[in-house]
Symmetry: C3
Subunit: 472 residues, 3 copies
């Protein structure tokens, strides 16, 4: 029999469908974190097994840190618009051992109730969707770790990240009691909250990497080389594309006609950007640009459309995607000039640049009919659709929020990584210290686990079981 | 708050469930195009990276060409039963920049309204489902391109393909105003519209390849060798199997008890065909047939059941699958006799033969109770279930439609590829011209991107950004 | 038009949502069987292509044997609480050719009707969910086959397995007319029915392997070595994790708030166990434990939480996961002491031990509010939540059921494999006989299909088509 404690979502079939759709979207987003690991081995080669264990770790860490407190700091009713109340029910670890029916098993999360978004998501549904989103955001940040950053440093940083760094922009922009939300700022599925903010956090980390590299006498940062592994790279873009099917359309937080429109705007932007990158790159080189540009073309389109997928028409999504080609190529050229960091997977040209660009385009391409359908009826038409003064005001709000968030995320991220660096004597692994500390520091050391050149360590493994590995 | 513009699907919980199911099915089908790329590298070896970029390109191209016009030419109310009206609302590019509430954001696609299929799909839902189906159809066609066909030729062909070649059979058979549909022809999920028609289009392309190879003095077509890559081949069949979970059951265009029956008939046919191929092949060789036959066995069953998965009982599906074994082995033997083409991935023995066979079986195995449940109540019982004269008439209709569609698709495809060949001086890449034109024709040239022997081109990459690749 | 035969699930929107959710869960579980194949090549190396064809075969076999009779022996109304009635409608092969509206196309499966679970699943929905569960259970059993067991032996065993061995515990514990269910035993998603019982069946097979190895004069069983293939291992844990998103939450057999809670308890346990294994292993070796321990850590948490994911709070799930680390390491140490079998993929330390442990924890960690939400309102609070005498009684019931089921499954499995061994002259492939019988026994012989060193056998293949492979 259907237990009484769960009747609340059952007495409304729209709420039931909304929850079913959003939890499926959450599952699709959940896949994306490990997909970023495949993106790394696809672009850097199978010896980057660190990337795989890293994204597995991020997936796990995101879930429990978000459950402990991170969901509340982002999405509970805010304290002065600044940060979600960590004590708001269900509270720490989603209520911990509480079997009370208020909170997790029954009731609707406040911001999805009829006074706010009105989509009737349960606390569990909304938690899963947002925890998955936070997870993939940090996966993006982490692509600049490469083999350079100690696993311990990255892990400690991730705990802070899911507690406050990811959460503040979410509390400000996505939480209906956040100060930027109340000011009128909108960011549909995270052009800023996810992509550009990931770029700002990544910038803080590469800056600390550079400070440590420079102090070791390096003239420029060690550049990481591209080694395409075609199968894994293709699998990664497939999984990321599938994930975006949840990421953007799930951000409607409901299941209705607009969800389908958002799938369409998302996919059209991806297709157009793919074609645009391939075309302009071909024009430059008169050669087929290959898989690397194909994948980055798709990603660029997906990132650009993310902040406004629910606000624009299919035609606008197509135009935005076409802009993606020149923008990506220009961004790649620009960021490759700096030799004090290395960004082979493209955090800055794709996510930082694409996210910031897409966010700014809200004030140009929004059509109120589409924004209304995704639950943002207050968003005015963009400049290209007769928005006039209201659109200009919206542009000011978006740019203001963009600058504030990038500065805040960079500052907190740098403070965090700086403290971690002090605490563990540097976040980077020098060639030398790597050799010395091989058995004493939890640096990822998965060299034997290469795919294409498997090494037998079964004897060691059997010994592992009985005693610690001998310090050869 | 739930916006007013989307109330139309919300006031009917059945429609809501139908849309939710069909969009999930669309996502599953969406995966299949790139899965065909994995099938190619799984059967031909990882150096076929062209296959991967090809299927990524097809995925993107399908979405935008279908959005621009292809969805309408297939599914809008037809002009004289022949072709869908390209101007029907929402019109080109799904309405382009139109923010009007009629069309995409509200309203139900005409053919799923209560006067026709009665399942209440939104325009967006139905578009996504059919665009994904068109995409995977062309992926099947493209398996005969191998490394022989210029990427530019394939791309131009695909634009025509999604505009008219895929669309005509769909307009005739799946569109409730199509002339073959009105004549009583049925093809549940595309035994003809997808699989056999893909074979006819592929035949046109291999014929043009052969004409060009012959004119270069070849006595027989260059045969492509099989190199099984076990991991990728297994991944491809997993993804295709999962995709078929959407492909056939999604073709109910609704969510009801019959969807589950269709999953069952689909999976039973796949299982039975797998066992049948393995058994008969083992009988021939007294050796385990291996992964290649396992995969083709499953595919053969899935293709055979596709045109009638919603019309038959589990028992019939099992029988149909068992027939798959001898049929596949006979088809493989038959098609391998011809040396003027090469078809290592099995477009002809699996998709052309299996699709045509399954379509013909409609007139033998249909049971009206099942057909009714999938919304095809006019379909009579088959010959094996007492259908008698009505079943014979149905057989005539199906065979008539089969012949007409195969001829039409072959003819239009050949005309298209012939024109393209004239325009770009041949669709094939000769060994010689490949060398010469390496840097001037957009042939896929992904040699450095092998999986098992990664080559470092990061330095080139950094140069790429600043200037065109030097013509070494 | 919506056909009349399917109105039954349509007149209840909760039933519609329940069916939609559970069939999606079934699809996710369906993926897990082949994911176990990827787990094997991920841990043992790409030359274990047998693992891939094996799991493809299991997927297919499970569906058709469960359809023929296995679903009924497990889930039809039982004969005396012992075994489901194989003749219960729809009967063999899900009704075979019956087009009758009673059974598959209409009506609700009896145990999900309002007198029992009350979730309104159709026969097809429930069949797909349970067939997928049975399939993955046997995939777990089969990980001890390695390259040692003849494919024919495994295939015959699987037919018996899906007819009666998997089915008896399901009939006893999951069937609401089963004798252990009526006694009050609960096993939420299969800590015993799936994981521990797989261990018991696997034990029977390794015992028979050992008997044959010993009779050939071996002093200890040939140990299989670990060769990590990082990409495939990561893909396997991603697919298994995604599969568990259906496995546990789908076991609510409905879509309601509790489904979300079960996703959360499942994922929290996985995350906590991952961290716990990594931490304790690091403490032992002062080295990063690497991908192998990461993956086993996640699996251990997922297995432990499976029998009680729907009964406990997030806090308890977290604690249970943390226990997973020491438990796995102790189990690995314990089972590696025995040299008469080899278990490199961890059937015994993960699935047998983890499943049995989790089942026992029902009597400690259950909170009635959560159990009620998952439809098990009779389950008392655990000992840690004031359950007192009722919890002790529950502990007795669970342990009694555990012992009975493990003994029964081991006994029937051993009897089955012993008979098969007699019938086909041994289930194992000796090095010698492998050479001799290469072309006459359907042993898996896929050596040419390695991933990282592809061997061209296209010429053989072309010959295959015309005549049997020559007996070189």
């Amino acid at each position: 029999m259907i237990p009484n404690v769960v009747v609340n979502i059952l007495n409304n079939y729209e709420y039931l469908a909304n929850n079913l759709w959003v939890v499926i979207a959450a599952l699709l987003i959940f896949i994306m974190t490990i997909a970023v690991g495949f993106l790394e081995i696809g672009e850097l080669g199978l010896e980057y097994t660190e990337s795989l264990i890293k994204t597995i770790t991020i997936t796990g860490t995101a879930i429990f840190v978000m459950a402990i407190v991170g969901f509340n700091t982002a999405f509970a009713p805010t304290i002065g618009g600044l940060i979600g109340n960590p004590f708001y029910a269900p509270g720490f670890l989603l209520g911990g051992f509480s079997g009370s029916v208020s909170g997790l098993l029954s009731g609707i999360w406040w911001s999805t109730g009829s006074s706010y978004f009105g989509t009737g998501l349960t606390t569990g549904t909304y938690f899963l969707f947002e925890a998955a989103s936070a997870s993939v955001t940090f996966a993006l940040v982490s692509v600049i770790a490469l083999k350079k950053v100690k696993f311990s440093a990255l892990f400690i940083f991730s705990v802070v990240y899911f507690t406050i760094i990811w959460n503040l922009p979410a509390a400000w922009i996505w939480n209906p009691s956040g100060w930027l939300y109340l000011m009128g700022m909108r960011d549909f599925a995270g052009g800023l909250v996810v992509h550009a903010a990931a770029g700002a956090a990544g910038l803080a980390i590469v800056y600390q990497i550079w400070r440590e590299e420079r102090s070791r006498g390096l003239k420029e940062s060690t550049q990481v080389k591209i080694k395409v592994s075609a199968g894994w790279l293709t699998l990664s873009i497939l999984l990321l594309w599938v994930g975006w099917f949840g990421f953007n359309p799930g951000s409607v937080l409901a299941f209705n006609s607009d969800v389908l429109v958002v799938v369409i705007t998302t996919f059209l932007a991806a297709s157009a950007s793919f074609i645009s990158v391939m075309f302009f790159k071909y024009m430059q080189t008169k050669e087929n640009p290959g898989l690397l540009y194909a994948v980055n073309g798709i990603l660029m389109g997906l990132v650009i459309i993310t902040p406004l997928a629910g606000f624009v028409s299919p035609g606008s999504a197509f135009i935005l995607g076409l802009i993606g080609g020149p923008l990506f190529l220009a961004g790649e050229k620009f960021f490759s000039r700096f030799k004090w960091f290395t960004d082979p997977v493209g955090l800055f040209p794709v996510h930082l640049l694409g996210g910031a660009f897409g966010l700014s385009m809200i004030a140009f391409f929004t059509q109120n009919a589409f924004a209304t359908a995704s639950g943002n009826s207050n968003l005015p038409n963009g400049l290209l659709f007769g928005g006039g003064f209201l659109a200009l005001k919206q542009l000011g709000i978006e740019e203001f929020g963009l600058v504030i968030v990038l500065i805040a995320v960079f500052a907190i991220s740098f403070a965090t990584i700086w403290i971690i660096s002090k605490a563990i004597h540097g976040i980077t692994v020098s060639e030398k210290s790597l050799e010395k500390t091989k058995f004493t520091i939890p640096v990822l050391n998965l060299a034997p686990e290469k795919d294409f050149e498997p090494v037998d360590f079964s004897e060691e493994k059997n010994e592992d079981i009985d005693k610690p590995v001998p310090k050869k």
